[in-house]
């Protein structure tokens, strides 16, 4: 039974590798396009179920390199649900390769699972790089130039993260996160420690696509296929944020070393995300900027450096991951500017409802998942006395909601173009039984996440507690 906890990882990796190899060597028959996505989504949902069932046991593996605690349970459950929904809701004909399109989100999810279970900095780094590499592969299918850019920017981010980890290791003499925290309890925060932490924060911010480090990742995300964009905006950011939460927990004895950076990045990201979302009109860039804004809220929760703040961030992270990953996937091929989504609500009601809910949730509009998470973070900020950051965050949210309403107007209140004039630029996402089911479940999850949020928030709170936060 002890190893049942690793079953979800095994299912995800086996599915990903199986699909990759099957695609490469032609094991799948011609008609496999019809059943591969539902099969993959089903397997991920099975993994999700196993995670919820078996993941409650607290244990460690591989000599303590991986731990299964409440944080890992929360993050893994979130990523599995996200990946399952994204695979189900994706507009598969608009993807460049079904096999790679199926495998990469699974590998990215595996990266997040590794990072969230990691007990030391090596595991964190490995999980983060795996998630990011999966995104590079998926982007390269459509835009090799952008993939190269993502690889280069990712290399810089990776270097910064490695430098930060190396310095923390050198300072504390430990790579293990718990041991690191124990050592830091007796240390005073110094500039010499704060500067490497700043580099580490910058590296993670680049990986997460947080403003002002969002430029490279965002551009790349916009050029990728729908699922690729979701991977860059959602799962990679989820991996980076999971790493950031674990690092913050390790650094919690000396909050002065990172809170300033976190507050500055958070404030900037929220306002820039809201302003950016208002400034653009196309749906996918708007989704991307809204995601940047919500990531800023998550960073704001990390800046509070105590349990309820981190728990609020974790709760919001789940909502963010689902909306940011599935939003572009639901949008599908209707991503060629505003005309492509004009009146989409009339012709693709369920998909459109999903896109609308994803946008509103990322904007923090009540009563959706993002709103509950942002309000929980806001409560933590108030307890922390961070009213300036709170004010900036609320300003950013108002801008974000205004931007989301602008897209809703196009989705629902403009008339769809005539079919004869639609053309490739305004092609409609394909409707299948799987995509309908995916969109329906996505809508239910986003609506119910906050309204029935007690057990989810309770798990997030336990997750923060598991990281040693008080």
């Amino acid at each position: 039974m002890r190893y049942a906890v690793l079953v979800p990882e095994a299912i995800v990796v086996a599915t990903a590798i199986g699909i990759l190899l099957g695609g490469r060597f032609g094991w799948f028959p011609r008609g496999s396009r019809a059943y591969l996505p539902p099969a993959a989504a089903l397997l991920v949902l099975v993994a999700f179920g196993v995670e919820l069932w078996a993941g409650a046991s607290l244990t460690s593996y591989f000599g303590g390199a991986l731990v299964q605690d409440r944080f890992a349970l929360f993050a893994k459950a979130a990523v599995l649900l996200t990946a399952g929904l994204a695979l189900a809701a994706a507009d598969w004909p608009s993807e460049d390769s079904m096999h790679i399109g199926l495998a990469m989100p699974l590998l990215a999810a595996f990266g997040v699972m590794v990072a969230s279970s990691a007990a030391d900095v090596l595991g964190l780094w490995a999980g983060l790089e795996l998630a990011a590499a999966a995104a590079v592969v998926l982007v390269s299918l459509r835009r090799p130039d952008l993939a190269l850019r993502l690889l280069l920017v990712g290399g810089v981010a990776s270097g910064l993260v490695l430098f930060g980890f190396a310095f923390l290791y050198a300072t504390t003499g430990n790579a293990d996160l718990v041991a690191m925290r124990d050592v830091l309890v007796s240390r005073a925060p110094t500039i010499a420690l704060a500067l490497p932490v700043l580099l580490l924060a910058a590296g993670l911010a680049i990986r997460a696509g947080l403003a002002p480090f969002h430029v490279a990742g965002l551009t790349v995300g916009l050029g990728a296929s729908p699922l690729g964009a979701g991977l860059v905006m959602g799962l990679t950011a989820l991996a980076a944020t999971a790493v950031a939460i674990k690092v913050v927990a390790a650094l919690s004895p000396i909050p002065a070393a990172y809170t300033l950076w976190a507050e500055v990045i958070a404030g900037f990201a929220i306002v820039a995300g809201g302003a950016g979302a208002l400034a653009v009109r196309s749906p996918r860039p708007r989704l991307a900027y809204l995601a940047v804004g919500q990531l800023g809220w998550i960073a704001a929760g990390l800046a509070t450096h105590f349990r309820s703040g981190i728990a609020a961030s974790l709760f919001l992270l789940g909502a963010f991951a689902i909306a940011a990953t599935c939003g572009p996937a639901l949008l599908g091929r209707a991503d060629a500017g505003e005309p492509a989504i004009a009146g989409l609500g009339a012709v693709r009601p369920l998909r459109t409802a999903g896109v609308a809910l994803a946008m509103l949730s990322l904007a923090g509009a009540p009563p959706l998942a993002g709103f509950f998470g942002e309000l929980a973070v806001a409560a933590a900020l108030a307890q922390n006395g961070s009213f300036v950051l709170l004010g900036l965050a609320l300003l950013g949210s108002v801008m974000s909601i205004a931007a989301a309403v602008g897209t809703l107007r196009v989705l629902y209140m403009q008339s769809p173009p005539e079919e004869s004039r639609r053309g490739a630029a305004a092609a409609l996402p394909v409707v299948t039984a799987l995509s309908t089911a995916g969109a329906t479940v996505f809508c239910l999850v986003i609506a119910a996440y906050g309204l029935l949020g007690n057990p989810i928030f309770g798990l997030a709170d336990q997750g923060a507690e598991a990281l040693g936060l008080r």
Partner: protein
């Protein structure tokens, strides 16, 4: 187990007893909205059915509400029909609902305005499903904000009303709908942000354990914190009511929105501003209420005076109607600024009467401009003979704004002014002066539009349709009913109420509790 550990206090419930009565009022329209939104409607084949579902949903909730109103115990100072469920216990959020006198007044207002809005929207032809679904969602969020007894729940519903109303303006509004919608989002969004800052400051100051109003308001806070929280709440309320100078959204929103949406905004959604001040500042922060009462009186005077002058200068009928709809808000705030039992009772009544009056004047201006095919006051003249129904309704709306006897707003204004003249005489006189300007503006408007010389260059006009007469008639009728029977009609020769126990009596419940911090000590009484 905690999820089903429901605290039910069925005080107020009699023949019709439900532990979820308030939840029904909130969530039934949401369910109906979702059903309407998901209903297949190829080429508008089921438009009529959609309208019927929406209308009967409102009628049903109004029926439940009327029973709740009848069974409301007016002698109890406590909350009634209370529901309490743990929601997010980790941060102290409770699904806590309840109503007192001011709450039931607001609920009745919201219910009546909801039915009127449905009737006003029967003429919608485009995207019928979306229109009625959004209208139901807007009404549901307003109801939620009224009955919320947890600050988190209040912010949730307060903010939730923005998106549907903005979309309704954006989708079905007049030529300047985009600007109107963005302004509404901007002002209301900033108001929500201010409310959230105030709520979170209160939450943090009380130890960050709960958002429950019962606990938050019972905690003794320093005057400084009370002042900070109250200022944030007043800013939020001023954007919603609106009060000068945070009224920038009002003209365009009320002038560009379709009539049904106009009356929801002017009648119910805006009144939430005054209700918020009453609930949080008056009910929870007495020290700050005393300190800020002159500011509130000044805001009330500025609002009424500005509204009168702006309406007087306006050359657009709907703009004039929008400005005039600001007046009741100013009067309600004057009653609050009095910080006396009489003033507060007047402001509670004024919530209801002011909402109806604002909805009536804004609605009638919208309908007249639609029926006359122009909004220009240069063209609109001498319409009374050609639109007698609307002429009557417009006159009633004008009378309601001015508080003419026989209409319910008379009682509200008498109480408000009597309360204000004692504690805020300067503010009271200033508001009275502003009201005189409003009277002049109304006289000019009514005189020109209804009784001026007919304009041969004006487009053709027609009187209101049956639906329009009904929706405006409901608003005017409610004002007349409460004005004629403030204590409810009685069986002749007895004190037994016929079917209405009396609006003033029912809404007085809890007012004494709200005003308990503002009663003067009796001379010679032992402490």
């Amino acid at each position: 187990m905690t999820l089903i550990a429901i605290t039910t206090q069925t005080v107020g419930a009699g023949i019709f007893s439900s532990a979820f009565l308030l939840s029904l009022l909130i969530w039934v329209p949401v369910v109906a909205a979702i059903a309407i939104g998901l209903m297949p409607n190829p080429r508008g084949r089921y438009d009529t059915l959609v309208k019927q579902i929406a209308f009967f949903t409102n009628l049903g909730t109004m029926f439940i509400l009327f029973i709740a109103y009848n069974q409301f115990e007016n002698f109890l100072p406590t909350m009634q029909y209370e529901e309490k469920l743990p929601w997010l216990p980790a941060i102290g959020v409770t699904y806590h609902l309840g109503v007192d006198g001011p709450g039931i007044a607001m609920l009745m207002l919201s219910g009546l305005v909801g039915i009127a809005a449905m009737l006003a929207s029967l003429g919608v032809r485009e995207r019928v499903r979306s229109h009625f679904a959004l209208l139901l969602l807007a009404e549901s969020s307003i109801t939620g904000a009224i009955v919320a007894r947890d600050m988190f729940v209040l912010v949730l519903f307060w903010g939730a009303s923005i998106v549907p109303l903005a979309l309704l303006i954006l989708g079905w509004g007049g030529p300047r709908r985009a600007a109107a919608s963005w302004r509404l989002i901007g002002y209301w969004g900033l108001g929500t942000a201010a409310l959230l800052v105030g709520v979170l400051a209160l939450y943090a100051a009380t130890g960050g354990r709960t958002f429950d109003m019962d606990t938050l308001f019972q905690t003794r806070l320093s005057s400084r914190i009370q002042l900070g929280v109250s200022v944030a709440v007043i800013v939020a309320a001023a954007t919603r009511l609106p009060l000068f100078p945070l009224h920038g959204w009002l003209r365009d929103a009320l002038a560009e929105a379709p009539p049904g949406v106009t009356i929801v905004i002017a009648g119910a959604a805006s009144r939430l501003g005054a209700f918020l001040i009453l609930r949080v500042v008056i009910g929870g922060e007495p020290a700050a209420a005393h300190l800020l009462s002159p500011v509130l009186a000044a805001l009330a005077a500025l609002t009424v005076g500005y509204a009168g002058l702006a309406a007087l200068r306006s050359l657009d009928l709907r703009h004039a109607g929008a400005y005039l709809a600001m007046v009741p808000g100013g009067l309600t705030v004057l009653g609050i600024a009095a910080v006396s039992p009489l003033g507060i009772a007047g402001s509670v009544l004024s919530l209801f009467t002011g909402g109806l009056a604002a909805a009536l004047i804004a609605g009638v201006c919208a309908t007249v401009s639609e029926r006359a095919q122009t909004r220009s006051l240069r063209l609109l003249s001498g319409l009374a003979p050609r639109m007698p129904n609307l002429a009557w309704l417009m006159t009633l709306g004008a009378f309601a704004l001015l508080g003419v006897p026989v209409l319910a707003s008379f009682s509200a204004q008498v109480m408000t002014f009597f309360g204000a003249m004692k504690n805020q005489p300067v503010g009271g006189f200033a508001v009275a002066a502003g009201l005189a300007v409003v009277a002049v503006a109304l006289a000019v408007l009514v005189g020109r539009v209804l009784f001026g010389a007919p304009n041969p260059d004006a487009p053709g006009v027609s009187d209101s349709s049956l639906g329009e007469t009904w929706y405006l008639g409901i608003l005017a009728g409610a004002l007349l009913w409460v004005g004629v029977f403030p204590g409810g009609p009685k069986i002749p020769g007895t004190d037994t109420p016929l079917f209405d126990p009396g609006f003033i009596l029912q809404t007085s419940a809890g007012v004494s509790d709200l005003a308990s911090s503002y009663t003067l000590p009796i001379p010679g009484a032992s402490p």
